[in-house]
């Protein structure tokens, strides 16, 4: 399978196999005019299988959101056909408007225009809790 090399844009690499569509939706990539390639189940020495997303446009991505979904992801910036920057995602301390609180008793279920904020409460087990009601975030 052949996918054109990017001249100016970003490559989101080392996505756990099967998670690319989640990231596509989260980053609202459907709203971009440029070419976007989702490559699924690519063979990887390190991961066995992985997904890759290539975006043919320079774009500021929400690193916190990516880190929340999968902190193994790397983001490569391509300028004039050359990789100029490689960033690793980390588990963010806070995520804002990435996931919604599903607790029907939470104030976020009725109060309009407030941010849905979750904070990392257990790094080892990757547990995030709503800052309002402390309900665990569900993927």
């Amino acid at each position: 399978m052949h996918i054109d090399e990017i001249v100016n844009g970003i490559v989101i690499d080392h996505i756990a196999a099967g998670k690319s569509m989640e990231i596509y939706k989260l980053l609202n990539l459907d709203q971009l005019e440029c070419s976007v390639a989702i490559i699924k189940n690519v063979n990887s020495k390190k991961m066995g299988k992985k997904d890759i997303i290539k975006i043919d446009e320079a774009l500021d991505v929400n690193l916190d959101a990516l880190g929340y979904i999968d902190n193994g992801i790397t983001i490569n910036t391509i300028e004039n056909g050359v990789k100029t920057n490689k960033r690793h995602c980390e588990l963010p301390e806070r995520i804002v408007n990435v996931v919604k609180c599903k607790n029907p008793r939470c104030i976020t279920s009725v109060e309009q225009e407030i941010d849905h904020v979750f904070k990392l409460t257990d790094r080892e087990n990757k547990i995030y809790r709503c800052i309002y009601c402390e309900m665990k975030a569900k993927n």
């Binding site: 104030i107 009601c133 402390e134």
Partner: protein, 304 residues
Amino acid sequence: MKDLIDILDLSIPEIDKLIEVANDIIENPENYREKCKYKKLATLFFEPSTRTRLSFEAAMYELGGNVLGFSEAQSSSAAKGESVSDTVRTVEAYADIIAMRHPKEGAPTVAAAKTQIPIINAGDGGHNHPTQTLTDLLTIKREVGRLDNLTIGLCGDLKFGRTVHSLIQAMVRYDNIKFIMISPKELKLPEYLINEVLVKKNIEFVETESLEESMPELDILYMTRVQKERFFNEADYVRLKDTYILTPDKLEHAKPTMRVLHPLPRVNEISVEVDKDERACYFRQAKNGKYIRMALILKLLGIE
């Protein structure tokens, strides 16, 4: 610290200081009669609660301040669909401090983020009720003389009882605390509190269904009501509500220095005959609630 939303917003030294001030208020009330002169407390109760609201109002009046507010959502603009954010922004123009009860969890957190004046969480759904926990801590300290080296029995509804959850969070910060959780298996303490608080902090605890067997060991017995409003099914409520009723004969096996606490209101889980026993301190506890709220208002207004 601008607000009190969660008991863990307060450090141990801050709690010690509040207890010290509350004790001083009890001993020298005349020194505090004008401390909040010309200050106004707004009690915003989007959900009815007689004793918490009256306790806050009595606290402010005893400090020489004034009180305004509402006691149910129906008599506020929330009934017209106003958001919490807009309500508190408006009230901020009229009051110096807000005590707020709301049926939705986290509502006081929203209020705190939207205002410059202090917000006190007076209960947000089944979530937090930090001034009740402060009341419990002041009561234990006054009745037993210490907040460490205690065996605490928690009895009744440990699943939905927010006062129990907050008390556990507060007490695990002190040395050598042991909990005995006494409840029917349907109302046991939630798993997350066991795993994320008790096990994680290496706190000794026992789960049992027997109040009688636990009694001789206890320094504190914290009784709770099985709350009808937390059940979806009337039959479950009826089946569980009479599981534990504290009577004078059960107290015979308790230490003479043991103390019985209850956040009130009680239904029938403590027989009225127990009230005469010196160990029953729930009405003294209710009184302490006013004093610790006075200390808290002073702290948050920067007066003490």
